[in-house]
């Protein structure tokens, strides 16, 4: 009896696999219906949201999206590139696991006549030279924005601490650079400490607690490089009754970040919209395949969100997300035409 059940199970399994396979469309479409291969470093919450944007834009263009995740593994991403080239997709979009590894594959894609678009994270020049376009955030500017708002709030004097992303990631490198650019212009502001908290709330909470014990009232402001770390820092401040008194800034514009801005605990955040960013990378890929002009560099200057304008963005992204998604293809076309890519 166990065996007949097992047989049925095996057959069911095979049937399911078969169905899944039959349901899939063959690749190799015509230019009017291009096939775009997307390989991303991982299904982070940002990328998962961005996938919806890419799919929406693909549907609007009659394109087919092939989506691969490399689960943070360099070699998996290389394999996925080889697969896309082998499948003869019409274009490839990459959110790279590591900035310096995909050189040979991007070159091979170019040689096979497949344009490559880089998105979300920057890659080394050796890789970029064979790519068609970069669609992604200006993280230096985001870091500068954070620091500028802090400087204004503390009257350009005092001491600050910085919480960084994981060392070596392009987001961390560029945001740190932006923050230091502004600190260099403010000689009366002392950088008390700078330490990674790896984009995480819990780590930022602990590091901020340690900083508060060590430096106490010397700290005039905290500069975390993203919203999650800002929320961790605010939590540490709250326990000391300092939330809203010591300025904290952030970047990304996640839901909790915008709420903290609205509540007055977070001074400013810079909106990085995954739907818009990966959706635009998709549109650039389609445009390139269909022979329309594409920007070599579509830099997202992230909109600055403060208490005065947070309502607009919160409403757009988190109260009526369906409407935003519906209007996304049109917004992307408008932004591409205007050259102001991050407007929303």
């Amino acid at each position: 009896m166990a065996k007949s059940a097992l047989r049925t199970m095996l057959m069911g399994c095979a049937a399911a696999l078969g169905l899944a396979a039959v349901a899939a469309q063959p690749a190799l479409a015509d230019k009017a219906h291009p096939v775009i291969g997307f390989t991303v470093y991982d299904m982070s919450s940002f990328i998962s949201l961005g996938k919806q944007g890419a799919q929406t834009v693909a549907d609007a263009n009659g394109a087919k999206l092939l989506w691969n995740s490399a689960h943070m593994d360099v070699n998996t991403q290389i394999s996925q590139m080889q697969q896309f080239i082998n499948q003869k997709v019409d274009a490839i979009v990459i959110a790279a696991v590591n900035s310096s590894t995909l050189g040979p594959q991007v070159e091979a894609a170019k040689a096979a006549g497949i344009p490559v678009i880089i998105t979300n994270l920057t890659v080394s020049d050796a890789v970029m030279k064979n790519a068609v376009s970069y669609v992604g955030p200006d993280d230096v500017k985001a870091g500068e924005n954070e620091a500028i708002h802090v400087m204004d709030a503390i009257g350009h004097k005092g001491g600050v601490v910085v919480l960084q992303g994981p060392l070596g990631q392009s987001g961390e490198i560029d945001r740190t650079k932006g923050i230091k650019n502004i600190l260099a212009k403010n000689p009366d502001v002392k950088l008390l400490a700078i330490q990674p908290a790896n984009w995480k709330r819990t780590e930022a909470y602990s590091v901020a607690q340690d900083f508060l014990s060590r430096y106490g009232s010397q700290i005039s402001a905290i500069i975390p490089e993203n919203d999650d770390m800002a929320i961790g820092a605010i939590q540490a401040l709250r326990e000391k009754g300092l939330a809203g008194k010591i300025p904290v800034v952030g970047t990304d514009g996640i839901k909790d970040g915008m709420r903290a801005v609205n509540a007055g605990n977070e001074l400013e955040t810079n909106l990085q919209d995954a739907l818009l960013e990966l959706g635009m990378a998709m549109q650039v890929a389609v445009d390139q395949v269909q022979g329309r002009q594409v920007p070599k560099l579509a830099m997202f200057i992230m909109p600055q969100i403060t208490k005065s304008n947070v309502g607009h963005y919160y409403d757009q992204m988190y109260v009526h997300p369906d409407k935003f998604t519906q209007d996304l293809p049109a917004l992307i076309k408008k932004n591409l035409a205007a050259g102001s890519y991050a407007d929303q």
Partner: protein, 330 residues
């Protein structure tokens, strides 16, 4: 159910037939699953069953094949090796450090040092398990962290790039066949000969099957255990060097989680985690199934979330089928 009971009562021979077919289907369920999957993929997608895609799949499985072969040696003795993923990163970084354009060493020496770093961690595992009697899970878990730490120290957390063309050529072709694939085939064939045709191979099965009986029969438990962990380390070292050439850089966290894929391949292939039972041929099917799944599920565009579920269920299913077959044979 009631129908088959009727058939049993009045006509025994057809039931025996069905039973034989059932047993055959169970024993070869792995091959059947692989074949079914290949056929459905080939029918539904033109780009799957092509020479170039088959080549891509082989290149993709090469590293896991080396690790799974090492895992087979270790698991057959009833042990486990969790450190191989970290060894991949360490060996890649070690080789890359000495394979840079302006390096003083030759390419062969750099490769040798990379493999040697893997052998060293493997031998350390072996010492701990065989001589210090540290449980394999704990010893290799500890060394997983140690090896990873060493890789970060050596590389300072940065990708080690700017490698010589000679080193990068390791990811190229030799006589039209990819070098990692050649290395994989050579390593697997040698390992099969060792396991199936030599006295040392017999000892490995004996240690895993019944260590007490093996010792009474004069098998050196310590030497055998020490050797399998060292072999696993060497194979992981080779994989690490090849992957560094492929990625054009030695990166410390390359290989994170690879140990689980390797163990999964061995287990799917019917290597018993209790030790002493299974064949490297099974492991070969194991890593091929994982490779074809990775490639095929991507080609038919299955969402990454569902891919995780499918792969997990296949592992459970394979082990379940294996345990059923052996229960009926006992």
């Amino acid at each position: 159910m009631s129908q088959s009971t009727d058939t049993v009562a009045f006509a025994p021979p057809p039931r025996l037939d069905a039973r034989q077919i059932g047993r055959f289907a169970l024993r070869y369920s792995l091959v059947i699953i692989l074949a079914l999957f290949l056929v459905t993929l080939a029918v539904s997608n033109r780009s799957f069953l092509t020479v170039s895609n088959m080549n891509v799949i082989l290149i993709q499985v090469a590293a896991n094949a080396l690790l799974a072969t090492g895992a087979t040696f270790v698991i057959l003795t009833g042990g486990i090796d969790l450190s191989v993923g970290s060894i991949v990163g360490l060996a890649g970084v070690s080789a890359a450090l000495f394979a840079q354009n302006d390096g003083a060493l030759t390419c062969a020496e750099a490769v040798g040092l990379g493999v040697l770093s893997g052998a060293a961690i493997g031998a350390f595992n072996g010492l701990l398990v065989a001589f210090a009697k540290v449980p394999p899970f704990v010893a290799t878990l500890g060394n997983m962290t140690v090896a990873s730490g060493l890789a970060f120290v050596f590389s300072d957390g940065q990708p080690i790039s700017g490698l010589s063309d000679e080193f990068l050529a390791l990811s190229g072709n030799i006589g039209g066949v990819s070098i990692p694939v050649v290395v994989m085939i050579v390593a697997v064939v040698i390992s099969w000969v060792v396991l199936a045709r030599t006295r040392f191979g017999m000892h490995i099965y004996a240690v895993g099957g019944n260590a007490h009986a093996a010792r009474v029969a004069g098998v050196g438990l310590r030497g055998t255990r020490f050797a399998v962990y060292t072999i696993s380390g060497v194979l992981a070292g080779i994989a690490g060097v090849l992957l560094a050439a492929r990625a054009t850089a030695g990166i410390a966290n390359t290989g994170t989680g690879y140990e689980l894929n390797a163990i999964a391949a061995a287990v799917i292939g019917g290597i018993s985690l209790m030790g002493g039972r299974g064949s490297l041929i099974g492991t070969i099917f194991g890593f091929l199934i994982i490779g074809v799944l990775d490639n095929g599920l991507n080609i038919i565009n299955v969402s990454p979330f569902y891919q995780l579920i499918v792969k997990g269920l296949i592992i459970i299913g394979a082990v379940f089928v294996d345990s059923i077959t052996h229960r009926t044979e006992d």
